[in-house]
């Protein structure tokens, strides 16, 4: 099992509000809300709290947000700085799978052992992602649920046949129950899972056209090796070789399970 993570500042950003981290068997990204104060700090606090939780082999979103909120208070940061997405993937040895979780927008991608790619693009069409920070503030949560909460999840499949896209979730109004989206990727069928901020959907060609998510993923996930800083190398290599421009900050983290892990599982 090997994991790596990287993040890159968008072309027009003063500070990178995305953050990513990886451990031996987990990977995560966070994307701070641009309109919330000091969300660059908040994304890192959420990420750091999740990191500590994942290092223990678990991820409880409410505990993560509470731990991050405590740190924010200690640093005299506004509570709203914690408005950040959290997408994570981790190895579950008992379940023989890689689990993934998404709170807010972004992309979860997985590669099947036959080489085909699947991805779930989580979108909030009204521009208000379901940040985990709302879970510890009843007033903000109530307002969000009354006024926002549209969510759409598009499944992309890129295999031997023609790429296809299917809308698999269409929430007109989120309630608390499906706040957090979860996946389980059996190691028998999948060898790599990546989590990405929504910057993956905002990449542009050198002439300024927006890339389709399928085209972006084919390049971003074209790892030749899965050792060392493989995610950082691939993201930088793709940006360098393709001349892509970043329409937004981009964070990406991936976890790879070689065949020996499959046998162990």
């Amino acid at each position: 099992m090997h994991a790596d993570a990287t993040f890159v500042i968008g072309a027009r950003h003063e500070v990178c509000e995305d953050w990513a981290a990886a451990g031996d068997a987990w990977a995560l990204v966070c994307d701070g809300c641009s309109s919330s104060p000091r969300s660059d700090f908040g994304a890192r606090l959420i990420g750091r709290a999740a990191e500590r939780s994942l290092a223990l082999g678990q991820l409880c979103p409410a505990h993560v947000v509470e731990a991050a909120a405590e740190q924010a208070r200690n640093m005299a940061l506004p509570a709203r700085c914690l408005d950040a997405t959290l997408l994570a993937a981790w190895h579950d040895p008992g379940g023989g799978c890689i689990r993934a979780l998404a709170m807010g927008d972004g992309v979860i991608a997985a590669r099947r052992r036959d080489g085909s790619l699947e991805a779930w693009s989580i979108e909030h069409p009204d521009g208000a992602p379901a940040y985990p920070s709302y879970l510890i503030d009843d007033e903000r949560l109530g307002h969000y649920l009354r006024s926002h909460g549209r969510r759409r999840v598009v499944h992309h499949f890129d295999g031997p046949t023609r790429p296809r896209q299917t809308v698999v979730v269409q929430d007109e109004h989120l309630s608390l129950a499906p706040w957090c989206l979860r996946w389980a990727f059996p190691l028998s069928r999948y060898d790599m899972v990546a989590v990405m901020s929504d910057g993956a959907t905002a990449l542009r060609t050198p002439d300024g056209s927006t890339l389709s998510l399928g085209d972006s993923l084919r390049e971003l996930l074209a790892f030749r090796r899965h050792r060392g800083r493989f995610v950082r190398r691939r993201v930088r290599g793709a940006l360098r070789k393709c001349g892509w421009q970043l329409g937004d900050d981009l964070a990406m983290a991936a976890i790879w399970a070689p065949n020996d892990k499959l046998e162990a599982a």
Binding site: R224, R225, R227, G228, R229, R232, R233, R234, R236, G237, A238, R240
Partner: protein, 244 residues
């Protein structure tokens, strides 16, 4: 100094001699400056070989304490009639500078072009392997000698072609090759200046003697040049030429 089981061996096209390098799977950074130092070990170097060894050790120590240490890999070889790899490309943090004590074993003649060709070829070839895996890579080569070539199978043009290939292959973002003359009299100075032009070295610097202070100054220059080249990585340009 290094665990030999972690090095992989590579051939260089057009050369009898290959090189070794850390396996790509074992590398922890995403970008590297590849440094190759080829040190003359012909008979005439015997009087100051310890100072050459010390200079190489000082370069390694200085680079180890550089903020870019994690992004530097160093390969050292000595040459007389033949080439002898002291160690292949190894990340700086893994190098023990004490290893260079006694590394310059004195031999016979001066296969200067063979050594330059091998040093440049190794940077290009390994750089290509790294670039194929999305590493950002540039290179810098130092060839240290006290005289002209008298034993190579390669020619000056072979070295020049290797340097041109280093750039045109696009494996390396930039490449710098420096010829260093040590303990040089006027006649050798003219010879090495000609070598510089014919073989396409980017720079030629010389020390008229081989005292401890001169070689310490050389070590400082080499270390600073490596640092400048490493800092230039990602800019698309070579590091600034520094004053010797």
């Amino acid at each position: 100094m290094t665990n030999p089981t972690k090095l992989s061996h590579h051939a260089i096209v057009g050369s009898h001699y290959g090189f070794s390098a850390t396996r790509i799977d074992d590398l922890g950074a995403a970008e590297y400056t590849l440094v190759a130092i080829a040190a003359d070990a012909s008979g005439s170097v015997g009087a100051f070989r310890r100072r050459i060894e010390k200079a190489i050790a000082e370069v390694a120590l200085a680079c180890k304490s550089s903020p870019r240490a994690d992004n530097l890999m160093l390969r050292v070889l000595r040459f007389d009639n033949d080439l002898h790899e002291i160690h292949g490309f190894v990340p700086l943090p893994a190098i023990d500078a004490k290893r260079y004590d006694g590394c310059v074993e004195i031999g016979g003649a001066t296969a200067l072009y063979d050594a330059a060709h091998n040093a440049i070829g190794s940077v290009t070839r390994y750089g290509q392997d790294l670039a194929d895996d999305d590493f950002e890579v540039n290179g810098i080569v130092f060839v240290i000698t006290d005289g002209g070539d008298n034993a190579s199978s390669a020619r000056a043009a072979t070295v020049k072609n290797a340097l041109e290939h280093a750039v045109t292959s696009e494996a390396l973002e930039s490449m710098i090759a420096v010829l260093v003359g040590v303990n040089i009299d006027a006649a050798t100075s003219r010879t090495l200046s000609k070598v510089k032009s014919e073989a396409g070295f980017h720079r030629y610097i010389e020390l008229q003697d081989a005292t401890a202070s001169s070689l310490a100054k050389l070590a400082d220059f080499v270390s600073r040049s490596i640092g400048a080249q490493s800092k230039a990585l990602g800019t698309g340009h070579a590091g600034a030429a520094l004053t010797f």
